[in-house]
Amino acid sequence: MTAGFSVAIETPQRTRPITMAVLAMGGEGGGVLSDWTVALAEDNGYFAQSTSVPGVAQRTGATIYYVELFPKNAGSGYPVLGTMPTPGEVDIVVASELMEGGRAVQRGFVTPERTTLIASTSRTYSMPERTAMGDGRIDSTELVEAALGASQRFIRGDFARIAEDTGSVISAVLFGALCGAGVLPFTREQFEDAIRSSGKGVEASLRAFEGGYAVALAPIRPTVDVTIGMRPDDLPLPGAPAVPDAADVARAISDPASMVGSKLQAQAQRIATEFPAAARLMLVHGIKRTAEYQDVKYADQYLDRVASIAALEADPDGEARLTTEAARYTALWMTYEDTIRVAFHKTRKRRFDRVGTEARVKGDEVMQVHEYLHPQVEEISDTLPTALGRWLLRSALMNKIIFKVTHNGIKIQTTSLWGFTTLYLLARLRPLRRRSLRFGEEQHRIDSWLTLVREYTPGDYALGCQIVECQQVVKGYGDTHANGMRNFNSMMAALPILVAGPMPADRLAGLRAAALADETGTQLAAALPA
């Protein structure tokens, strides 16, 4: 019976229309793409009918455009064309974004017998992906695999980047890919004429068209059959678990000293001799980070701390998860966010360069950068020497004054003489940091945390790893940081109860997920053992 599900567009008895669905988000030019297709068809011997659902649905939401084409010479009179895609009967699906391609698969528009799927591998993240407190992204490789399995042919590329590079819009790139795919009975010239006769931004559109065309024409890259399934080799894709560069990993194992400057040679040497191979790249990042944050002595302190954990490593020749994660989170905690660090990064040369590139400053154009800072009393007292900081926190008058100055926020133009000088001087307070109120507090917190790791790891390695990874919930500034810290403390306080019960590592992982589920700590409070 399988043979009965015809793939061909022409059957001996009757002609069927060419059907095409376009999935895009409002404002992405899905309408422009279907308008071009209609003009292309009508000017070249085809009837065309397109429908869409504009209106409120247009405002950034997922939208479907549907086009049917029918040859004028296939009969007399005007054909009866469809106004909606029929699952299983769509020849071409064009998606401006990878999850929209997935949506087309889910809705049955993309089927293995019939459909050529043309989709951008770029992602426009959905609201849940963006608002998650941690990493809520969907793994793009899974979307690509599903699309490969569901389609007859899957033409893909980062069409959004091509649009950006050519200064055009994604609809023009997709139109190019549609042409290159060879699924419509029209020549490239005819495609380009459709763009030309629309008369708007023609030059940029044609450049973008060329980009999409080239992607579709390129031979389909070989797919590598690995144990987890068919995986195209044109990765990485967003949302996939980040994998460090293999060359970096190898270098960090054999010669970490080559990855750091002259001042950190001794520390790199120590990494090479004292630590498990799998953790070395992370440690290299860690010493650079701590030394940059404070000084070389601080990097030594960092290595001492991680070494105390590495001593308990149960898997030194394998993944060395405990050491690697301790190397990660100890460095992150030791380089906690304070005003000095912020001022330091805001004034660095490489930041100026990056902002300029991002704003596309050209020729004699001039760039100005303004910062939005909102220092709170705590953040100011943090930076001051311990005694002074304590006094400031206690002084009602100083609190009032600082609130008055800062409660509406401060705007600083970093590119101005005054603004830059202010931030520059703030960054120069770095040597004072060691004597500040916050520094003392954070060092104490770090040591208590690592003490807990050392206490629980010998009995339960997985639990030790989980305790290390709980540091993930402490991040952000101001209230966000305070909430994270509160969540972290309540998880640590729950440890004695967790170890008394079954599977403490899994349960701690559950608590961490709950802590990252909302801002208020409500889910964590519900999940905590009584």
């Binding site: 939401g61 959905s126 801002e519």
Partner: protein, 722 residues
Amino acid sequence: MAERSFAQEVKELRLGAGEEFRGEGILAVTKALLQSGVAYVGGYQGAPISHLMDVLGDSQEILDELGVYFENSASEATAAAMLAASVHYPLRGAITFKSTVGFNVASDALANLSSGGVTGGALVIIGEDYGEGSSIMQERTHAFAMKSQMWLLDPRPNLTSIVDMVESGFELSEASNTPVILELRLRSCHLHGTFEAKDNRRPEMTISEAVDNPRRDLSRVVLPPASFSHEQEKVNTRWPAAVKYITENNLNEFVAEKDHDFGIILQGGLFNNVNRALELLGLSDAFGNSTVPLYIMNVTYPVIDQEVVRFCEGKRAVLLVEEGQPDFIEQNIQAVLRRNDATVTLHGKDLLPVAGEYSPAEVTRGVFAFMQKYASHLLDPANLPTITLPREDPRSPYAPRIKADLVQGRPPGFCTGCPERPIFAALTLAQREVGEHHVSADIGCHLFSINAPFNIGATTMGYGLGSAAASGLNGKDANKRPIAFMGDGGFWHNGLTSGVGNAVFNENDQLLVIVDNDYSAATGGQDVLSSHAENPLRSTKHPIERAVRGIGVKWSRTITNTYKVAQMRDLFKEALTSTDKGPKVIVAQSECTLNRMRREKPAKVKAIKDGKRVVNERFGVDPETCTGDHSCIRISGCPSLTIAENPDPMRKDPIATVLSTCVGCGLCGENAHAAALCPSFYRTQVIINPSRWDRFKTAMRTRYIGFLQTGVEKRLAGIEPR
């Protein structure tokens, strides 16, 4: 000024006899009105019929030449009442709105109009907002046609049929003294196609001629005893007249009527889907040459008894394809068949879904089930569409080919730079301090607040009814007060009286936030009374605050820049804690960005070309200081504020990032301040064609800053490898 310019479409309205019209359905209707000698047009904008209003708004010249009066009605009720011009005068009039919401509002006037009847043709063109892509409750206009006895046309969705039906609609209306509804489905309105145009026609009588020669006929006024004779007239005179016109002019169609002893009755608007189903099953071709007998009801009300009986004669079974519920037509046909002792078996909602849109997929499955029952020998089992397979079959298009959780919902939301977003950011921050409140939402873009990330708004009761919907929650001993939202569109539509006036009169304690973005934005950016734009045809610039004060509100404030989040937050707190009696009204004013950009972008491009000094602004996030907690996104949700791979090899969570689509509205900075977020946000100003002073200043700064930066990099030199 509407969201789009319709200069191109206006040209299509000028086409003469024999020329080919190319365009979308709703524009074809507009052209058909002019070809039919319409004398006046009114209506209220709303998807999917906004373009009819917008195009006519841009066609003043043509309307003047033809002597056609066009009005942007204040509401659907206003539009419906406007048809009173056709009661005594032989004026052809047309109104348009989205249905069923528009019909709800218009039904008082339409019921009165239908009672007395019309002399000139009266056409109500409605966009039936039903099924996928609809933004309203799922109901049928059919009920209104039945209750007021208005004829309901539901033509086949191709432009020629639709255009013909406009002309026939006027004639039918005049022949039966009854207003006629032309129903266009969502997709028919936006369907691109062609038809052969005719010349435009001047109305036989113009509005001015009518006004100068007033007429009255007491028997047409709805007041006893005339109202009782109207009812008799409806059934004894107008109905038979309509049936006569419909049958004589073959408005309904028969295809292959006597070819088989089974057949399909369908609403004309569903013809393309039914034909597609038959095509897929091998029973029709692309030109609609069905081998299965069809009775196509281009007029769905009234049902023509004798046509139904004629079609069913000698048939074993008939399938009725009627979209939506209740199944008014099925009940009607059942009654007709019973009264005529017909033996045919009628199928309908037993083989097709009871509720929901009749997509080609649903219709194909329904027709397949019917064919299997009555004529399975006509089906070629080797050539069936996969849609007919059970869902469990791996060849079914619905076979699971992707994990469900990989595809997330993507509901519409506020655009990049939307001035309504900061209102809800500010309310979120205010509620963090003064607690959660009951929020009554309204219709308009601001309704997007009900979704993430704001999750604000508990009910929506109809256009302009946000305030009224909070009136019941006026707890005299409560410690909190309800918050109501309303847009400027809803405010002028009816909210001023139904909401504000009501709250003043009943001393309602609510806080009413009126979102004033200069346009009826959700329907396509049409002007309203309070629009700031100069409109040559309409009177604008009437401030909302003046109106609410005029109606008796004592506590009212207008915010002219909604992006000032801290200021808005403080104002919300003040309004929510004020001890003043009566409604507290905040008018939150900032222009719709979509419309602002459409206006400003071309001007900017021109200025740059002319060598003028132009400042481009956008926001950014420093990846070094962003810790990836995304709290900035949770009080914004802006499409341009998203996430990106963390460039820091030690951090795992994605960082926040600002896309190049950022319009520099300023909300990110204001939020960072008002919510005491992280210091990672910055605003970049790029000065194009800088002045000499700009260049001098920058040269000095660059030298000074460069010198200090070199010193810093020296310290770091020993950390990174050379």
